[in-house]
Symmetry: D2
Subunit: 296 residues, 4 copies
Amino acid sequence: MEINGVEIEDTFAEGFPIKIARVLITAISQRWAVSAAQEATGFGTSVIGCPAEAGIECIVPADQTPDGRPGVYIQICNMGYKNLEMSLLNRIGQCVLTAPTTAVFNGLPEAEKQFDTGKKLGYFGDGHQCDIDLKGRTMCKIPLMEGDFLTEHFFGAVDGIAGGNFYIEAQNQAAALTAAEVAVDEIAKRKGTITPFPGGVVASGSKVGSKYKFLKASTNASFCPSLREDGTCTLPEEVSSVYEIVINGVSREVIEEAMKAGIEAACTVPGVLRISAGNFGGKLGPHHFHLHKILQ
Amino acid sequence: MEINGVEIEDTFAEGFPIKIARVLITAISQRWAVSAAQEATGFGTSVIGCPAEAGIECIVPADQTPDGRPGVYIQICNMGYKNLEMSLLNRIGQCVLTAPTTAVFNGLPEAEKQFDTGKKLGYFGDGHQCDIDLKGRTMCKIPLMEGDFLTEHFFGAVDGIAGGNFYIEAQNQAAALTAAEVAVDEIAKRKGTITPFPGGVVASGSKVGSKYKFLKASTNASFCPSLREDGTCTLPEEVSSVYEIVINGVSREVIEEAMKAGIEAACTVPGVLRISAGNFGGKLGPHHFHLHKILQ
Amino acid sequence: MEINGVEIEDTFAEGFPIKIARVLITAISQRWAVSAAQEATGFGTSVIGCPAEAGIECIVPADQTPDGRPGVYIQICNMGYKNLEMSLLNRIGQCVLTAPTTAVFNGLPEAEKQFDTGKKLGYFGDGHQCDIDLKGRTMCKIPLMEGDFLTEHFFGAVDGIAGGNFYIEAQNQAAALTAAEVAVDEIAKRKGTITPFPGGVVASGSKVGSKYKFLKASTNASFCPSLREDGTCTLPEEVSSVYEIVINGVSREVIEEAMKAGIEAACTVPGVLRISAGNFGGKLGPHHFHLHKILQ
Amino acid sequence: MEINGVEIEDTFAEGFPIKIARVLITAISQRWAVSAAQEATGFGTSVIGCPAEAGIECIVPADQTPDGRPGVYIQICNMGYKNLEMSLLNRIGQCVLTAPTTAVFNGLPEAEKQFDTGKKLGYFGDGHQCDIDLKGRTMCKIPLMEGDFLTEHFFGAVDGIAGGNFYIEAQNQAAALTAAEVAVDEIAKRKGTITPFPGGVVASGSKVGSKYKFLKASTNASFCPSLREDGTCTLPEEVSSVYEIVINGVSREVIEEAMKAGIEAACTVPGVLRISAGNFGGKLGPHHFHLHKILQ
């Protein structure tokens, strides 16, 4: 299979289950909503070493938010609802309540699982907090130095999928990275998914396990272009750099759409040679995304 | 005291000791260096609820970095060297090693305290890592899917100061926030300090303690403009919004310079009425920054 | 009439006829498409002193462009088709053909009026240019140092409207400007209109004519807050700054939608006191946009 | 000669004399100063088809400007002082006076040639303008809807140089473009020069003349990678994309420094194969910049 002259390998991405909370942040301007979202979703690439996985999902226009201000949806992901609840409380409490002009709304109001994070945040008001109604939503109003902060009482969470992914193999680093940037930009225009790594891109795709017992993951040696001499690297000769795009999402469908949009966009960049994907032979997770099926 | 017609209150900011590590991140372009730095310093506003305090210190031109590429200095701060070492390992390992095209260098090579974080990161290479020399610096080279990642073996840390601050009191939120943005921009052009909150700005200045026993900090009620009716708020009548700029730095001097630059810039914005600062009567920390002295 | 507590004056904006060409620029990434678009639409605020009026209309995802790459629509406006044709040739030739990785497509393929600008640009190929077909569109391929540049042969233009507008009156400059930024951001998310002034905002609203015979337009003195002492300024006492948003568009409908979205967004910003609009009592143009009708 | 493994061709760039005016724009924030500067310097790549050449020179901190606000230096260039004076009046009048919160200062106060552009702009005030002193500078104060606009009376201009340049030849477009971006970023950190093309980069390097008599310049065919079959292209086989960085500056020295910084930065990007430069055998201009001399 080829797109725009780029080979699509006949392989699959392997995802695993994760719990995902979704929060809508609004602010006085899009710029400040994004600023809060960046802080709240930072240090959030992989649960292997970060306290959560997190990212910006998409920007929404002012007329699609409850308070008529520009908005940004973020996702916070963790293994198990208990960890997720703690992540939600700390990240909203430390990075959104503290951010200029923000308000926060439940991004999954119809989910079965609902955390009362907003109610808990209210205690920061030291007794001055109170409840108000905003177009049918119960909000806690907390007096701050900047004015009042509004947070919805509840935030929903669902069983989502982490680790959707594809690889961009290219003639050199700049081509692979430009394609990765373009792919991430297009994914960011769609709802339901995040690309939690820095700038949406993974430089250091990994395999499960390592020769060191204390390490759960290590470099994906067979895809490392500088390990060619001893035959460790099995990449085609002309590939000298590979980036991975990792995608988390609230459903299988949104991940498939994001993979399709990202791959098609990546294939327009000169110097991209092949698209592949990362899997662990089924050892890691039950969710398999076959490239050829998704791109039909 | 007045600057540009803005009253400078005769008060002081109260800082407290913190341990600070400083890392230089370089990348293929300034944009990608900043992207890595943002991820690595996210979820890092306050040690009250974040695993560390962290921020971007400044951008440096390509001719001022060891590998001739554009660079960004970041600071990671924590209470005690043990916590700091863990923060450093996780944040560099998860957010910079994983970021496209980055290399990392010791930002405090002359500090007495040095962590061997780079050596530890090397294990990700699964045996394929090796040491190289880059202009007198010992670097670990780790093969990745994108190419090779370089990290210096050691990263220095020092006894620094957290909680340098000033308040911007204004006629309304937009004026206070514009002044805060301008102040943060000017501080970012100087070396040695970070403003760890979202976009560099704190919307929710706090006091130590709370009426709820489980809460260490709560809203600074006497500076909350919406708590005027019962006399809780003691702000001047015409002030309707207050932002705080919190500054961490590697020395008293750099914090004083940052406060001076930030306050002077803030005072150029129409609608700013008064500059104040946050202290806890000496209860929190030994480092006092008197506004009138700094601005002489 | 009030929105969110902000008074909407019972007045109207007065627009005038202008010719508008619309061009789709695609590039290797959204960032580079925007970069070309900024250069091509610069020095383009008002036909009073600029060679054309021009601006970025909106960004489109890669799957909505003929070559599957990220795109940006721009508009170039002038008085009369002859001037417009010259503007189109110079701005595309000097600012888009010269910009990295771009291609240009007809943004109004169904318009009656069509300029053969792409054919003319072809001569830059010095005989090496040739025609190709791209999904039914006839494109001229011009060999460049970066690779090949593609331009569609024809670019359509229509009778549009310039000078749609509204005023944001606020307590101070920062509030008015923040509201203006928010309004412009929301307008930019819609198709069909541009806001040609710097950052989309006019600081210097003008009246027709002047006491100096050589000047066609001069400061709108009755809206200048600093001219209160002698009664020249007729603004409410509490207004100290006013920004105007000027909107050009391909039809009356798109301007009305843009005005509605912009005004509603502006009214969410604290410190905004009143929305008004600029007209010249019908002297300037036949297109009247009554605020109360648009905001019904 | 080689830098970082990249060949530096033994050739020279050929510049020509141009008149350059330099203006300092300040604004309420760096963002708005840049916004005004972008509008004022747009449609300004080459005097062949633009009414002037123009660009952003550098950003300066608030403590280095006369009014203590963030600033941006721009340059406007034209053939002959008469054309330049007209460009200055139109671009400042239409794109900076109209831009939110700006003030403008003379960027070359010690030049012999001084235009009274600020005095002329004053007439927009329709008789309400007046002169004030700002730290020894005579400024015209013009009442606007946003508040008062300040412009210095005079703006200086000098005999400068246009057309300083170098070529980046690379394995593919993404590598060449990434290197170009990095080079432009580093040049922008230095004073005295501009890179007037879109994003600082030229995609379409040209030769003087053409087979069509009506065309003064045409594609530089011998550097066009797609013209290899008939031997027109004389680039090395492995080069598939070339970008040119064009530099204007107020003196020979600043252009040499900019070329050096830009070339050295470009040579850090993987996939860059050779640096060259554009000249016309001495036909175009008297200013020759030999790469090997500059990079010594």
